[in-house]
């Protein structure tokens, strides 16, 4: 459960005036929800995720994650990968495990599984600078999944990834979500992806960034490529498209 | 005109063995073409663009840009923005002008025009770190356009940008292209975008990266949202999709 009340964030700019990146927002995300977040560039999506992860201090309001005493409540896929340049792909992915005391042997199996999942087999020992943009992003996704956090925050995880990989990863993510009951927040610019994945969709709008609308998606699970043939899916996609078109 | 013959590139990896990022490729891109490049992640798209721009040395083969004595034949939009972190948005966009001796006043007007075009009005004085991911990419697009190079190389320029902005920028790019007759090479993961924009489409495939197929697109210009209703467009999109699905 993620409970957000009165949450706002403004950034100081040069010269003293400030930008309101997120105007006060109240929202409640039930445990186990899969929330897709869409909205135009600069509307505060990343800021919202970073606030939830505790990476920014809120200018106002509160967030309650209700994850109890878990050390790492959230996993985060950053918008720009953020791999440690001095570690190989394998070591980057294993990093969350290494730093929480998981045994090497146990970790290795898990890491190899993830590497295969994101299609980086053969690049285990490559350094981040030796990867393509999409490969870096996939490594970052694998890292976020490594230690199985109850909440997963993903900031445009698939934007640099090709169609096929994207679809595969979409389905994998759905499977993981259904198996584990994680709460997932995923930012995307693709309304199709938002509709296909989300149990709920947050539409945000800019200047100042705020929550414009939320959809509860009642497309059935498990979702499969067949879902995309459902009329409800198409209706939702065109609703979302319209929401994004009229920026007031 | 970009003439590529026998072009290949391999990267050395730790331990001495090397990755063939691009296996020998022959291709001829006529002057004034708009080439969309699609292909799975890691298939060598970025590498190809970087070779064309002269940012990497080829392992074999040659590239001939035939731009004569022009000092800066290519503009480049990098996959991950790459703004100078110490310069404001305005100064970043003006950088190509400043370094080619354009007068401040003349430059200013041009720069403001570009800032408006990419929708960064109001953020002229912000530093890169104060921008959202999409805003950074838009600033990078504006910079590449600033000094009006005859060849424009764009590596997933719109991947971090929302739907609406993306469509606007697509149309702007088409307009610029038609008005100036630039040669444009654009990498994208969206087959719709590839089909909508390109006069020609290169489909690449991985392991090792190579040119799998080229399409000559005969959809009429100027392209407008109506183009997306043409049967030819849909046929092309599904062809491309199929090409990308069967990795051999």
């Amino acid at each position: 459960m993620i409970s957000v009340s009165g949450l706002s964030k403004s950034f100081k700019m040069e010269g003293g005036n400030s930008v309101l990146a997120l105007s006060p927002m109240d929202h409640h995300i039930p445990e186990g929800a899969f929330v897709s977040i869409v909205g135009p560039s600069g509307c505060g999506k990343s800021t919202f995720l970073r606030l939830v992860a505790g990476l920014e201090d809120a200018s106002g309001g509160t967030i309650d994650l209700a994850t109890g005493a878990i050390r790492r409540p959230v996993g985060f896929v950053f918008q720009d990968a953020v791999l440690l340049p001095w570690k190989s792909v394998r070591d980057n992915i294993r990093f969350p495990l290494d730093t929480s005391g998981v045994k090497r042997a146990a970790g290795n199996a898990r890491v190899q599984e993830l590497i295969d999942l994101v299609g980086l087999t053969g690049f285990e020992d490559a350094l981040p600078k030796q990867l393509s943009g999409g490969m870096r992003q996939r490594a970052a996704i694998a890292r976020a999944l490594a230690d199985d956090p109850p909440i997963l925050l993903m900031d445009e995880p698939f934007s640099a990834v090709d169609l096929l990989t994207r679809e595969t990863l979409n389905d994998e993510l759905l499977k993981i979500w259904q198996q584990t009951g994680k709460t997932i927040l995923l930012v995307t610019h693709s309304v199709e992806e938002a509709a296909y994945l989300g149990s709920e969709i947050m539409v945000m709008s800019p200047r100042p960034g705020r929550l414009k609308k939320t959809y509860s998606v009642d497309l059935p699970y498990p979702r499969t490529p067949d879902t995309k043939a459902l009329p409800g899916y198409h209706a939702l996609v065109s609703d979302l498209r319209r929401d994004l078109r009229d920026t007031e | 005109m970009i003439s590529v013959s026998g072009l290949s590139k391999s990267f050395k990896m730790e331990g001495g063995n090397s990755v063939l990022a691009l296996s020998p490729m022959d291709h001829h891109i006529p002057e004034g073409a708009f080439v969309s490049i699609v292909g799975p992640s890691g298939c060598g798209k970025s590498t190809f663009l970087r070779l064309v721009a002269g940012l990497e040395d080829a392992s074999g083969g040659t590239i001939d840009l035939a731009t004569g004595a022009i000092r800066r034949p290519v503009g480049f939009v990098f996959q991950d923005a790459v703004l100078l972190p110490w310069k404001s948005v305005r100064d970043n966009i003006r950088f190509p002008l400043d370094t080619s001796g354009v007068k401040r006043a003349a430059g200013n007007a041009r720069v403001q025009e570009l800032i408006d075009l990419v929708g960064l009005t109001g953020f002229e004085d912000a530093l890169p770190k104060q921008l959202s991911g999409g805003m950074r990419q838009r600033a990078a697009i504006a910079r590449a356009l600033a000094d009006d190079p005859p060849i424009l190389l764009m590596d997933e320029p719109f991947s971090a940008v929302d739907l609406l902005t993306r469509e606007t920028l697509n149309d702007e790019l088409l307009k610029i292209w038609q008005q100036t007759g630039k040669t444009i090479l654009l990498v994208t993961h969206s087959v719709e975008e590839a089909a909508y924009l390109g006069s020609e489409i290169m489909v690449m495939s991985p392991r090792p990266g190579r040119l799998k197929k080229t399409y000559s697109v005969d959809l009429p210009y100027p392209r407008t949202p109506d183009t997306k209703a043409l049967p030819g467009y849909h046929a092309l999109v599904s062809d491309l999709r199929r090409d990308l699905r069967d990795t051999e």
């Binding site: - | 940012l55 800066r72 503009g75 480049f76 990098f78 790459v82 100078l84 370094t99 770190k129």
Partner: protein
Amino acid sequence: MLRVLRPMAEYGVALLLLIAAWWYASGPMEMPRYLLPSPQATMATLWSMLLSGELLPHLWFTLRNILLGLAIGAGTGIVGAYALYKLPRLATLLDGPLVVFQTAPKIALAPLFVVWFGLGLTAKLVLIFSLVFFPVLVGALAGFRGIDSRMHDIAKLLKLNPFQRFWRIDMMAALPGIFVGLKIGAVQALVGAVLAEWISGSDGLGYLMTYAGATYKTPLLFGAVLLTSTLGIVLHAALTILESRLLAWKVQDGR
């Protein structure tokens, strides 16, 4: 303004604390005067020298040498680092001699510098230069070598000429490293200036120290040491302020 004033106030507080500890050691703790004069005596000595007009010429002499030496050393250090960075061949050849030249203890060579370069300003500047050059070189080299390769892509794409590339990209990107070198270099310049005056001449804070040391004028000795350190602190603070100005884009918000 406040951003500048606050650190200055804190530096001031630190100095006051230091002087308080000093006062305690020389007063209540009764450290003998020839080991540690009281701050009052030290200040009184400085004050009377200031009033008699003796102090400022010494202070200025040292300060001028420091600034001159620092400027020359830093300039050549940065340019040298850039040359080594751009010409790796040169770097491989010059690495050894440079380090050997640098590790040669200047205190041992200082008397020879006097013999080689005469009794005037040259020998002093050579000494300061020899101390400043290397830290700046090494710091700048680390800075240049650490430049994000994507910055080079931009330079290459825009076909920047070497001059533009140096000023507009490489210098900016290497600034953190350069400042590391400059801060160490500034301290070294100070040490060098004092050492030079120690070896020859009858001007400057270093000279005052030798004179005071030889004649057991410990208040003057400590006064001169204190002034030297104050110069060091001012120099360091100026560099820090400059650094935070020039590197504002790099310093993280909220840290």
